[in-house]
Each structure stands twice: as structure tokens, then as C-alpha cells.
Amino acid sequence: MIIWLAALPVQSAPLRISILQVEASPMQQELSLSLMKVFSQANHSVQLIHEMNDTIPAADMIVAIGVKSSRMAASSKSPVLGVLLPKANYEALLHETSSRPEKFTAIYFEQPGQRQIDLISAALPNVRAIGVLYASHAAEISDLRKSATERQFVFREQRLHSSEDLHRDLQSILLKSDVLLAVPDPLIYNPSTLRNILLTTYRNQIPVIGFSEGYVRAGALCAIFSSTDQLARQAAAMIDQFAANNRLPAAQYPKEFEIAINRQVARSLDIPLPDLEKLRERIRSNHEKIRD
């Protein structure tokens, strides 16, 4: 069986791909559409499903969008590629569903720590202390800490003790930091705390680095994120690899990125941000410099 497969041409055969999208937010819908487009162009047959049950035909590959979808798909027999899945959630899911990396891979939601620190040094050259507030994503923090200290930043971290302490812990870290780097930790950064966090950081004149375009529009100074087209391209490349080698590539960070800036907030905080092009260039060149 295996020999027969190896004798086949390396050209990837069309796969049956199910895109599992449990939540219906605009961003996830946009991603579904981008994925469908990109997969169809590669001649795969695609179906969009919103739940997993026995009536749905099995697929060669399930692309699960978001945490809920990933959880639902992780226990299926088909290989799964999770997208828009924070690294900590991916690792927890691996652990909880007893699934294996050979069967469950992902494109992480957040940008690699290195790139986030690159953004800060490109946009805010005068900043020295980076503050991070977290509750459950301890592993991610060590990645950020390493990248930050490599760049001579002072890294201040504060773990949230309970959700009632959010204001106090936030105040405490704002006193020690020049910028607050938001990590996608839902206990801290969720729609109900959004207002208080942005108002408190603004009152302290501390800019916030967000993790999505929406956050920037709400009031974060800037964010580095991957657009749905970029994610779709990366997912397609990973699936191509899988089709060629019959092996899922390892879970990875997004490769391409976009930057969003809130000019009104920048002006109000008296932060002279360069334009998008210059910023992109600076990040790219910093990245080349440090890459091992």
C-alpha cells in the first residue's frame, strides 16, 4: 500500500476538504470564503459545514476555523488543520482530546513573538518597558519575554489573579510599562473588558498593541495580524504538502502579515508613527537581521 502511494506522481491529488465553521462571525465567514476560493482553484472538492455528525460524509481533511470548530473536529478520524487557533488553545486541545500532532495541526492565531517585538521597536523606538498582562497563556509569555530581552527591552509581566482584580492588576502594570502588549487571552481581552482596558490604558497615556484589526479600530495603537487571504494561502500550502507527503506539516505561526494603525490615537498620544510602508519595511528588515 505504502509503496503504491510512493510510486504515484508527487503532484497532489484533489482532496475532499471540509471547512468546519461553527461560529458565524464576519471574520470567520470571510476566512471560509477565502479558503473555499483557494481550495477550489487547486481543484480540491470543498464543502462548508457547521457541525460534525454522522450524516456528514467523511473528508480527507478538515479545516476547522476557530477554537470551537477545532475542538469539534479534533475527535474525528480525519486529519485536522485548525486556523485562527491560539497556540495555547491548540496545545490544550491536543492534550484534552488525546489527539496527536500527526493528525491535528494548526496555523496559530497570534503572530510569532519575534514579530510582535519587531512591531514595537519599529513603531515605538523610544519605548523601553513592555508590559504584558496574562491569565492563562503562560507559555506564550516566555516566548515574548525571550524576544523582548534579546532586543534590550525591559519585560514586565503581570499574571491576573482573578477577574475582579483586572483593574488593579492593569493599573499596576501600566505604572511600570511604556506600552501594553495585548495577548489573545480571553480572560483578559474580551468584548466586555474591551472598554475598560482601552479607557484605563488611555487615561494612563499608555498605547496598546492589539492583536487584530478590530482592536485597532476600537482604540489600540496598532496591531500585526494576518488577513484572511494570507491565511488561506498558507492553509492551501500546508494542504498541498499534506497531499504530497501524506504527512501533516507541524503547527506553525502565520507567515504573511498585515499591519493596522489607528492614526487618531497615535496623534492623541503624540506618537509619530511612520506610514504603513515604512513600518512594514522596518519589520521585515529587523526580522531578517535576527533570524537564525
Binding site: 461553527v22 461560529e23 462571525s25 464576519p26 471574520m27 470567520q28 476557530g66 477554537v67 470551537k68 475542538r71 485562527l84 495555547a88 488553545n89 490544550a92 486541545l93 492534550h95 484534552e96 492565531f109 523610544n126 491569565a135 492563562s136 503562560a138 507559555a139 499574571r159 483593574h167 488593579r168 493599573q171 499596576s172 505604572l175 489573545p184 480571553p186 480572560l187 481581552y189 474580551n190 468584548p191 466586555s192 474591551l194 472598554r195 475598560n196 482601552l198 479607557l199 484605563t200 488611555y202 487615561r203 492583536f211 487584530s212 478590530g214 482592536y215 479600530r217 476600537a218 482604540g219 489607528n262 487618531q264 490615537v265 496623534r267 492623541s268 498620544l269 503624540d270 509619530p272
Partner: protein, 705 residues
């Protein structure tokens, strides 16, 4: 099969150990919500974002909490010494006089004074009673002072400028705090505040009292002017308490915010204060020692609506009420030269009320244009027999609009106007424009042309109808002041602002010419019990150069301000038009002599603050000013101007734990006039000649819980 089971078990064991060892890490539940992808509302809308100083249409000084703390001040009025060009003086210990440029008398009424956008100067005199404001200094988030007319942005009465006191918002505190002050001259304050932040509702409440026994002002050469005492006049000395000027107020304020959705928020503010202000001057029968009881309360409700494209609208309703009770208010029914008798005094029970409704909209027209427009109506009522006779009310309407046009990324044009009625038949327009040009991102040049008006207050219309005047107008409805028009200012300025952030350094320099026409005055050039009627008699032109610098380092900052001012005075109306003979002569001389001394040639301040260690903090303020005179301090050969002032204040504090965290706290010692500078205050009668300020210290203890 079996080796899989073992592997599974080992994995389980490792996981348990890992879990056990760092249980707090994985103990936090992994939340499944895909929350990052929801449509997020715009939180930092245009009205929430402060305009950077380099883009503001007028010169602005911002005093933040760190600066307020570093001054060691206990009363709001003292903090204004940090603003270049600001005069801070005292008629007595509990009657501060605060204004840019100059003052006719103790009722400083040529600035718009706002607390969170609500005007607090009250009819009928137009002054602000700082001692009774229902706020502690700790309730203040920031003070913005606009050092030029700003009607289009800040509303009526902003002739010389605007003071906008912004209090801490409902979401600024989560927890409690108690603070106690004790010091010399009977200083005794206590305040407790607590705040709670919830998901869609938060509030902050503050309550306490503020008291002092006297200001401590003394004089070496004041004397009693009793008619019989001309030959052996009774001279005061440095032990004599001349002024009866203590005060004691209980106060409370609340701010609450309810935001059921991202689009709507409702902000409620309320406060009250009650207590007494002492008044009276030793040796003056017409100013007996007594308490004036005051009760004041206010409430304000604001509804803010944010549209999908982040435009916003705001509807604000506010009311302010004040009751004043003076057991022995002097009146002069038979004119100024009549002897003082027992019926010179009467019980005055005055009631003042203001209601105001305003709507404001902020709209983006493309990336380059932002327009703010709106309108409002204000109803003022005063029942203050001694000053205005019958109860009076006046209704004023206004509409305003201004536009920010970002012509290029480095050039910003501001243009705006306010049109208003004064409720007495006058309609005024106050246009203004300014151009901000960022030569480089760090250096900005601003040129501005701005106008504003000041509507005469009820007292200026009706003082002659009160019992102080002849019976011609007593009890009559119509005003004895004929054809009074609003005062009008035209201000031209050019400024250079520099923000060198990498060097931690910023500064601004500004040159201005302020021309004021139609200044309202009475025949004796002051708002006093002797006045009969008021007219737009006078005019003045004030030119100046002012600036400020700020430098900060890791654990502290230093900020300095300075103003050089000069004034030219003249007459709007021919003096012979309204007064005759000796009175005219007196008036001419008086104005032409006092007015040139009414702005100090040099004034400035230096404030330095430093955290020596994590727990020790020191700060000091130096306030300097050359001689200055309030216009009603006359004749000048009898009353010298207020002397040059070079006052040093010090503060040293030791903090415990972490600020604003339970168990944290601070003990501080503040000393005002540590160098015992003997600067004098406003005094226009013999008994108040050359009163000089003492050195005053107080200790404060604060704990957080």
C-alpha cells in the same frame, strides 16, 4: 497494545506532575470562545481622544495629577499658579481670586470656568466661590487652561480664557481610599472615596469635609479707620488677626456611568456642599465678624451616543443651586456718606439657580474634516435682594460650530464660531480661527485670531436696583444700567511648540496681543455697594510673551512657566458722558493710575518633583510675580500694589506598599511659603493694608483599601 497503555499512563503521570507543579498555569480554564472575531465597537472616539497640544487651536496648559500632587496644594485655587499669566490672589483666606490677565475687583468674571463642561460661575456677580466647590483635589483628573478666548469650543464668558476642571471619571477607581489632613491655622480635612467598576456600570463616590480656622494673614501697618481715631489711630501688629476668614464645609460628589451597549452611555454627576465661610474685618463696623452659611448642590446627566462610523452625539442637562444666608449684610440706604447705624445691616437670604441643556454633535466628513456643532439654552435665576433688588431671571441661547480641516498631514486649520443671546436683548458672534503648521513632527508653528464676548452679569445690570442705591430704582423691574453691551475681546497670537520626546523635553513660546473693548464699569470703577449703574466705559490692550518648558527623567520631572505682560489703558466712552465734576476726576485718575499696574510685568513658576527611592518622594514649587494691583485698590497713593512675590513651597512624602492597592498608603508633609516670603494680598481699605501671608504646614495621611 499493552505498551500503548503504559505510554498513556506515563503521559498521564507527567501531565499530573506538570499540573500539580504549576497548577495555577493550567488551572485557569481554557476558554473556548471565539471572541476575537466579533465586531468590536470604537471605544476611543474623537471626543474621548485628547487633542495633542501641537494641534490645539489655542494655547493650553494642562495640569495633571502628578503636578497637582507635587504642588502640595490643598485648595484648587493654588494650583492655578502653575499657569503662565494667571493671577491668583485673595480678598481673604476663603475668597481666592483667579483669572488670567487682570481683574476689576474680587469677582473674577472674565474667564469661563467649567467643571466637566458645566459652567460654575454664578449670577449675579459672575465670580466663582472656590471654597465651597464640592470637590477635593484628589477628585480631579486633570485641569486644562486655555490661555485665550475660546467661545467656539468652550461656550460663553471665555473672554480671557477657559478653566476646565476635569474630574476623575466613574471608572477611574476600584477600591477605597481615606485621606486626612491636619495642620497649622486649624487645617483639618478628611475625605473618603470609593469606586467600583463593573461590566456595564461603574461609579465613584467621594465625601468628607474641609476646614480651616483662618488664613493667617497679618499686617504691620494696617490700622483702624474709625472716624474718631484719626489722631491716635489703632495700629495692627503681627499678632493681630485682622481677617475673620476661616471656613468649614462638608461635601460629597458622585460620578456614575451606565453603558448598556457600545453605542450608548449615560453619565451622571452630582454633588453638594454645605457649611460656612467666615467673613469680617477687625475694626470695620460695616464688616462685622459673622458666618455666611452656604449650601450648594448640582446634578448633571449626559447621554452619549456613538454611531457606527464613530461619529457621536451628546445631550447634556445640568442644574446648579446655591443658597446663601448672611445674618449681617451691610447696605447703605442713604448713600455712602451716611453714618453707619443699626439698620445698615440686614439678613440676606439669597437663592441662585441655573438650568442648562446642551446638544453637541461630532461628525467626520472624510479623513480630513472633523466638524463639531451644537447649541444650548441656559436659564439663570437669582433672588439676591441686596445686590439686585427683585428676583431676576435671564435666559440665554447659543449655537456653535467649529471645524478641523487637515489640509495636509502637517497643516491643520481650525475655524469656528459661537453666536449667543445674552437674554437682555444683545446678540453676539465670536468667530475664531487658527492655523497649526508642523514644520517637522517635533516643531509646530501656530497663528491664531480669536474673539469672544462677556455678557454683563445680573449684578452689573441691576445693582442700582438694590437697596444700596437711591430709591429711584428700588423695587422696580427695569434696569438702571442702560444700553449695556457685552465686553468684547480680540486676541491675536503666534506660538512655537516643540516636543522633543527622545530628549524628554518639550517647550512652547507664545506672543499675544489681547484687545478688550467696552469693559463694563461703574462710576467708581468697581463693583461695590456704592454703584448706581454700569456702562461699557473702558478699554485695554494687553501684550505679552509667555512660555513653558517641561523636562522629565526616569523618576521625576521639572516644569516651568513664565509670562511677561504689559498693558495700555483707555476709555471706550467719553468720561464726561456719564459722570460729572469731582466724581469724574476721581474716576479718570483712578482708572488711568490703577489699570497700568493691573498685570504683573513678570510672573512665573517652577515645579520640580522627584522619587528619591521607590518610597520617598520630594517636590518643590517656586512661584514668582512682580507687583500687581486689582483695579479697585485705590487711590494708589494710599494703597500700595500687592508686593513682589517669591514663594517656595515644599513637600516630602513617604509611601507604603503600592499606590492604589489595598494596604498601600502615604504620609506627606507640605509647607506653603517655606521661605517666609512676605508677599501681600489685595487690600483696599485701611484695615486690610499690606496683609502678608504666613508660612503654613500640614501633614497628610492616606491609606488605600
Amino acid at each position: 497494545m499493552s505498551h500503548f497503555k503504559v505510554r498513556f499512563d506515563i503521559q498521564l503521570i507527567i501531565a499530573t506532575i506538570f499540573c500539580g507543579a504549576s497548577q495555577t498555569l493550567i488551572a485557569q480554564p481554557m476558554v473556548d470562545d471565539d471572541i476575537y472575531f466579533e465586531e468590536l465597537p470604537v471605544v476611543l472616539t474623537a471626543s474621548r481622544l485628547l487633542q495633542p497640544l501641537s494641534e490645539a487651536p489655542s494655547a493650553m496648559t494642562v495640569i495633571d495629577r502628578a503636578m497637582i500632587r507635587a504642588t502640595g496644594a490643598r485648595s484648587i485655587a493654588e494650583v492655578f499658579r502653575l499657569v503662565p499669566g494667571m493671577y491668583v490672589g485673595y480678598a481673604d483666606g476663603n475668597t481666592p481670586i483667579v483669572s488670567l490677565r487682570n481683574n476689576s475687583d474680587q469677582y473674577a468674571r472674565r474667564m469661563q470656568v467649567l467643571i466637566d463642561g458645566r459652567s460654575i460661575y454664578l449670577a449675579p456677580t459672575g465670580g466663582v466661590d472656590w471654597a465651597e466647590l464640592p470637590f477635593f483635589l484628589d477628585d480631579i483628573e486633570r485641569i486644562e487652561v486655555v490661555r485665550g478666548p475660546s467661545a467656539a469650543s468652550h461656550g460663553a464668558n471665555s473672554l480671557f480664557g477657559v478653566i476646565n476642571i476635569i474630574t476623575r471619571d466613574a471608572a477611574s477607581q476600584n477600591g477605597g481610599q481615606i485621606s486626612i489632613h491636619k495642620g497649622q491655622f486649624g487645617i483639618s480635612d478628611a475625605s473618603a472615596s470609593m469606586g467600583k467598576i463593573g461590566e456595564d456600570f461603574e461609579f465613584r463616590l467621594s465625601a468628607g469635609y474641609r476646614a480651616e480656622q483662618e488664613s493667617g494673614f497679618r499686617s504691620h501697618d494696617a490700622y483702624m479707620s474709625l472716624p474718631t481715631a484719626q489722631t491716635n489711630r489703632y495700629q495692627f501688629n503681627s499678632a493681630t488677626q485682622v481677617l475673620h476668614d476661616g471656613s468649614n464645609f462638608e461635601l460629597a460628589n458622585l460620578r456614575a456611568n451606565y453603558h448598556p451597549s457600545a453605542m450608548n452611555s449615560f453619565d451622571l454627576q452630582a454633588g453638594f456642599s454645605q457649611g460656612y465661610r467666615q467673613t469680617g474685618t477687625l475694626g470695620r463696623i460695616q464688616e462685622p465678624f459673622r458666618n455666611i452659611y452656604i449650601e450648594t448642590d448640582f446634578s448633571k446627566l449626559e447621554w452619549q451616543h456613538v454611531y457606527a462610523d464613530s461619529d457621536e452625539s451628546k445631550l447634556v442637562f445640568s442644574r446648579t443651586y446655591r443658597r446663601l444666608s448672611d445674618s449681617a449684610m451691610p447696605v447703605y440706604p442713604s448713600g455712602i456718606s451716611a453714618p453707619i447705624t443699626w439698620n445698615t445691616f440686614r439678613l440676606e437670604e439669597a437663592r441662585i439657580a441655573r438650568h442648562e441643556l446642551e446638544i453637541q454633535n461630532s461628525v467626520h466628513l472624510g479623513e480630513q474634516h472633523r466638524v463639531v456643532f451644537g447649541g444650548g439654552v441656559r436659564h439663570d435665576y437669582a433672588d439676591y435682594y441686596n445686590v439686585i433688588g427683585l428676583p431676576r431671571s435671564v435666559v440665554q441661547y447659543r449655537i456653535f460650530g467649529h471645524e478641523e480641516w487637515r489640509i495636509t498631514e502637517s497643516m491643520l486649520l481650525n475655524i469656528g464660531n459661537m453666536s449667543e443671546t445674552d437674554g437682555m436683548g444683545n446678540v453676539s458672534h465670536s468667530p475664531r480661527t487658527s492655523l497649526n503648521y508642523h514644520i517637522t513632527p517635533e516643531h509646530t508653528l501656530r497663528v491664531g485670531y480669536s474673539t469672544a464676548v462677556r455678557n454683563p452679569v445680573l449684578g452689573e445690570w441691576y445693582l442700582g436696583a438694590g437697596p444700596t442705591s437711591s430709591s429711584l430704582y428700588l423695587g422696580k423691574d427695569h434696569t438702571p444700567s442702560q444700553n449695556l453691551e457685552p465686553e468684547r475681546i480680540v486676541s491675536k497670537e503666534i506660538a512655537w511648540l516643540a516636543d522633543m520626546r527622545p530628549y524628554r523635553f518639550s517647550f512652547e513660546v507664545r506672543g499675544f496681543i489681547d484687545q478688550v473693548a467696552g469693559i463694563v464699569s461703574d462710576n467708581m470703577a468697581s463693583l461695590s455697594p456704592y454703584a448706581l449703574n454700569f456702562r461699557n466705559n473702558l478699554k485695554e490692550e494687553i501684550k505679552g510673551v509667555e512660555g513653558s518648558i517641561k523636562y522629565f527623567w526616569d523618576h521625576g520631572f521639572i516644569t516651568a512657566g513664565y509670562a511677561w505682560q504689559t498693558i495700555q489703558c483707555g476709555f471706550q466712552l467719553e468720561p464726561s458722558f456719564y459722570s460729572i465734576g469731582a466724581v469724574q476726576q476721581y474716576f479718570l485718575e483712578s482708572w488711568l493710575q490703577t489699570c497700568p499696574q493691573s498685570v504683573p510685568r513678570h510672573s512665573g513658576s517652577i515645579l520640580a518633583s522627584h522619587n528619591i527611592t521607590d518610597h520617598w518622594h520630594v517636590s518643590s514649587a517656586l512661584y514668582m510675580r512682580t507687583q500687581v494691583r486689582i483695579n479697585n485698590v485705590a487711590p494708589i497713593n494710599e494703597y500700595p500694589p500687592e508686593s513682589t512675590m517669591r514663594r517656595l513651597d515644599l513637600r516630602i512624602a513617604r509611601s507604603f506598599g503600592e499606590a492604589n492597592q489595598p494596604g498601600g498608603g502615604e504620609i506627606a508633609l507640605s509647607i506653603e511659603n517655606a521661605n517666609l516670603d512676605s508677599y501681600t494680598i489685595n487690600g483696599n481699605v485701611p484695615e486690610r493694608r499690606n496683609l502678608y501671608a504666613p508660612r503654613r504646614g500640614y501633614l497628610s495621611v492616606t491609606t488605600y483599601f
